[in-house]
C-alpha cells in the first residue's frame, strides 16, 4: 500500500501546493478587489501582506492565540489601508505611486519590528486533515487544509453576493463606476473609497497571517516574495469578480507550486525561471485582456481613468 507514488507525485504535490499557496493570493486579491471596485488602486498590498504576516506572528507568539494574531493582522491592515486611503483622498495625489511608498513603508516597518521574531516559534493555526481516508503519507500531507481557506472561499461568495444584492455593495460599485452619479446620489466618494481601501487592507492582511501562521509558518524577511504585488494582476485576471478571484488564486498558487513540485521529482534546472512563472503569466494575461480601443470588460469605469 505504501509504495512510491512515482510520477503521480508531481500532480499531487501541485494539488497540495495549491491548497497551501493559494489562500494568501485569495485574501490579497479579495482585498484588492474591494478597493478597486470603489475606483481606487492600492499597489501597497505587498506592504500590507508583510505587515500582516509580522503582526500575526508577533501577537500569536506573545498571546499564544493564533486567532488573536489573525485579528491583529487585520487591524494593522486596516490602519495601513486607512493611511493609503487618506492620502489618496487629497486631490492630485497619485494612488499608484503612493502604493509603492506604502509598500516600502510596510516592508520597512515589518522587517524592523519583526527582527526579534525570526527565532521564536509562534503558535500556529490549526489545520483540518482531508486525507484521513488514505494510508499514503504523501496524500495525507498534501490534503491538509487550513481553516482560513474555507473562510476565504466563504468571503469570496459573500462579497460577490454583497456587490450584487446589498445597498453597501451597490454604493461601492457606484463609486467605482461614476463619481458624478455618486455625488448626485449624495454619497461622499472620499468616504466610500477610504473605507473600501481600509477594509481591503484588513482582508489582505489576513492573507499575511496565513503566510506566517500556517504556510510557510515562520517569520522572515522573504516571506511574501511579491504576492501582494501580484494582487493587482490577479484582480485584473479575475475581471473584478470576487468569485473569479478564487480561480485566479488557484492558478497563481498552482504556478507557484509547479516549480518546487518538479524539483522534488528530480527536474531541477531553470529553477529561477520557473519561479518567475506567475509574473510571466500575469504579463501574458494583461497583454491578452488589454486593448487600446475598448475598455476592460468588467473594469470599474473610474478605475480606467487611473489605469490607463
Amino acid at each position: 500500500m505504501s509504495q512510491s507514488l512515482g510520477y503521480w507525485g508531481v500532480p499531487l504535490a501541485v494539488l497540495g501546493g495549491i491548497l497551501r499557496l493559494s489562500p494568501p493570493f485569495l485574501f490579497v486579491s479579495l482585498g484588492e478587489c474591494l478597493t478597486e471596485k470603489s475606483g481606487r488602486i492600492n499597489l501597497g498590498q505587498e506592504g500590507t501582506l508583510v505587515m500582516g504576516a509580522m503582526s500575526a506572528y508577533g501577537i500569536s507568539y506573545l498571546s499564544g492565540s493564533p486567532w488573536l494574531g489573525v485579528l491583529a493582522a487585520g487591524a494593522v491592515g486596516f490602519i495601513l489601508g486607512s493611511i493609503h486611503g487618506w492620502f489618496c483622498s487629497r486631490p492630485r495625489v497619485n494612488d499608484i505611486a503612493l502604493g509603492i511608498a506604502m509598500m516600502f513603508l510596510g516592508e520597512g516597518l515589518a522587517f524592523y519590528l519583526g527582527r526579534g521574531l525570526i527565532q521564536p516559534q509562534a503558535t500556529q493555526l490549526a489545520s483540518v486533515n482531508l486525507g484521513w481516508w488514505s494510508h499514503q503519507p504523501e496524500i495525507v500531507a498534501a490534503l491538509k487544509i487550513n481553516i482560513l481557506l474555507p473562510v476565504g472561499l466563504a468571503l469570496a461568495i459573500i462579497m460577490w453576493w454583497a456587490f450584487r444584492y446589498t445597498r453597501w455593495g451597490m454604493v461601492v460599485r457606484l463609486a467605482g463606476e461614476s463619481t458624478d452619479a455618486s455625488r448626485a446620489m449624495g454619497y461622499s466618494i472620499n468616504t466610500i473609497r477610504f473605507l473600501a481601501t481600509a477594509v481591503g487592507g484588513f482582508i489582505a492582511a489576513i492573507g499575511g497571517a496565513f503566510l506566517s501562521l500556517y504556510y510557510p509558518g515562520s517569520w522572515n524577511d522573504n516571506i511574501s516574495s511579491g504576492q501582494g504585488l501580484m494582487a493587482v494582476a490577479l484582480v485584473i485576471f479575475a475581471r473584478w469578480n470576487p468569485i473569479n478571484c478564487i480561480y485566479a488564486a488557484v492558478i497563481f498558487g498552482g504556478a507557484k507550486a509547479i516549480g518546487p513540485a518538479l524539483q522534488a521529482a528530480g527536474y531541477s534546472s531553470y529553477t529561477y525561471l520557473m519561479n518567475a512563472a506567475p509574473y510571466v503569466l500575469t504579463m501574458v494575461i494583461m497583454i491578452i485582456t488589454c486593448s487600446r480601443t475598448r475598455a476592460w470588460v468588467g473594469a470599474p469605469a473610474e478605475l480606467g481613468a487611473s489605469l490607463r
Binding site: 505611486a97 516600502f104 513603508l105 527582527r115 494582476a233 529561477y272 525561471l273 488589454c290
Partner: protein, 370 residues
C-alpha cells in the same frame, strides 16, 4: 471674451520673458518649500518612531547626518551611493515626462549590469576604452529595450505600464539569477555565484585621491544632457505636450507614440548604464550585489525631483546620504538597515502626499496683471 489692455501689454516679448523668469523662481520657491516641509514631516514622524523604539531621535538623526555628510569620508560614501541613483532616477523621470509611470528601473539596472559584464568578457583583451564602450553599449541597449517593451505594450495594447514594469522587475531578477548561475557563470565563483570578472585593468578609476569613481561625473553629465533634452529640444517639448495633453499633441502633428517609445528607451538606457557603471566601477563582476534596490530608490528620486533632470542631482545626493547614513545608524546605535527603509518609505509617502499642496498657497502664484 474681451481682451483687456493688460493682456495685450503682456504680449510684448520682453515682459513675457520677465514674467516667465519670475514665475520660474516662484515655482522653484514653491517646490523647495513644499519638498522641505515634506522632508521635515518625515523626519518628525521618523523621530517619533525611533523614540518609541527607545533610541534617542536626536542621536539617531545626528548619526545619520554624520554618516552622510559629516566628514569627507562620509561625503565620499554618499557620492558613491548617489552615483547610480542619478541614472536610475532618470529611468522614471524621463518616461514620466510623456505621462508614463515607469517603475522598472530595478530590472533595467540589473540586466544592464549583467549584459555589460558579459560583453566585457567577450571582448576581453581589447583596449580599455573599447571594453568600456562595448559595456556601455550593451548596458544601454539591454536597459533601453527592457523599458521600451512595457512602453510599447502601453502604446499599442493599452497595458498599464506601472504594473507591467513592476512585474518585469521580478522577471528581470529571475533572468539575472538564472544567467549568473547558468550561461554566464564563472566556475571559480562558487560561494557567491558571479559572472566572469571584467578584468582589473578595465575598472573605472576614482577621481583624484578620493574613493569616488568617475561614474559620478558621467551620471551628472547625463543629467545635464537630459535637462537640455527635456527643456531645450523639440523632442523634449513634444514629450511634455504628449504627457500633458495627448489629444492636443496628436492634433499638432506630433507622433506621440514615437516620442513615448523614445523617452522610455532613453530612460531604460540610463538605468542600464547605471548597472554597467556599478559593475565597471564597484563590483568588477555581476552578482547578487547589484540587486540591492538602486532601481527602486530611483523612483523616489524621480518623484522628489518632480521629473526635472537637474533637480535629480541634489535629490540623488540627499538620498545617497540616507543610504550612507544607515551604516552609522547600524554601527553606532544598533538600528538595523530596515530603519532606513522605514525612513525612505516615510519620505516617499510625504513627498507624494505633498503633491496636493501645489497651487494652494497664493504667495507662490504669479500675479496676473489686469
Amino acid at each position: 471674451m474681451r481682451i483687456s489692455q493688460g493682456q495685450i501689454w503682456l504680449n510684448f516679448p520682453v515682459v513675457n520673458a520677465v514674467r516667465a523668469r519670475s514665475s520660474f523662481l516662484l515655482r522653484l520657491a514653491e517646490s523647495l518649500t513644499i519638498t522641505g516641509a515634506a522632508l521635515l514631516a518625515s523626519v518628525m514622524v521618523f523621530s517619533i518612531f525611533v523614540a518609541i523604539m527607545k533610541v534617542n531621535p536626536l542621536q539617531a538623526l545626528y548619526a545619520m547626518y554624520l554618516g552622510a555628510f559629516g566628514t569627507s569620508f562620509s561625503w565620499q560614501v554618499t557620492l558613491v551611493k548617489a552615483s547610480p541613483l542619478l541614472l536610475t532616477g532618470l529611468c522614471t523621470a524621463l518616461p514620466m515626462r510623456t505621462g508614463l509611470i515607469v517603475i522598472g528601473g530595478e530590472g533595467a539596472f540589473v540586466l544592464g549590469g549583467l549584459f555589460a559584464a558579459e560583453a566585457a568578457h567577450m571582448v576581453m583583451g581589447a583596449p580599455t576604452i573599447i571594453v568600456w564602450l562595448v559595456m556601455a553599449a550593451a548596458g544601454c541597449l539591454v536597459g533601453g529595450i527592457w523599458i521600451m517593451i512595457p512602453a510599447a505594450l502601453r502604446v499599442y495594447r493599452g497595458v498599464n505600464e506601472t504594473i507591467s514594469t513592476l512585474l518585469m522587475n521580478y522577471i528581470a531578477i529571475a533572468i539575472f539569477n538564472q544567467l549568473v548561475e547558468g550561461l554566464f557563470h564563472d566556475p571559480n565563483s562558487l560561494n557567491n555565484p558571479s559572472t566572469y570578472s571584467i578584468g582589473d585593468n578595465n575598472m573605472i578609476g576614482d577621481i583624484g585621491n578620493s574613493q569616488v569613481h568617475w561614474g559620478l561625473i558621467v551620471g551628472i553629465g547625463i543629467c545635464i544632457l537630459a535637462w537640455i533634452l527635456v527643456h531645450h529640444t523639440t523632442l523634449g517639448f513634444s514629450a511634455d505636450l504628449a504627457g500633458g495633453n495627448p489629444k492636443a499633441a496628436r492634433l499638432s502633428g506630433i507622433r506621440i507614440n514615437r516620442v513615448i517609445l523614445w523617452f522610455a528607451f532613453l530612460g531604460g538606457a540610463c538605468a542600464g548604464l547605471a548597472g554597467m557603471i556599478q559593475v565597471a566601477a564597484v563590483q568588477e563582476r555581476a552578482n547578487d550585489g547589484l540587486n540591492v534596490g538602486y532601481g527602486y530608490a530611483g523612483i523616489l528620486v524621480a518623484f522628489m525631483a518632480r521629473q526635472d533632470p537637474l533637480a535629480i542631482i541634489p535629490v540623488a545626493v540627499l538620498l545617497g546620504g540616507v543610504h550612507a547614513g544607515k551604516i552609522l545608524l547600524a554601527t553606532q546605535l544598533g538600528l538595523p538597515n530596515s530603519a532606513a527603509l522605514v525612513f525612505q518609505g516615510l519620505l516617499f509617502l510625504f513627498i507624494l502626499g505633498a503633491e496636493t499642496l501645489y497651487g494652494r498657497f497664493s504667495i507662490f502664484q504669479p500675479r496676473v496683471r489686469t
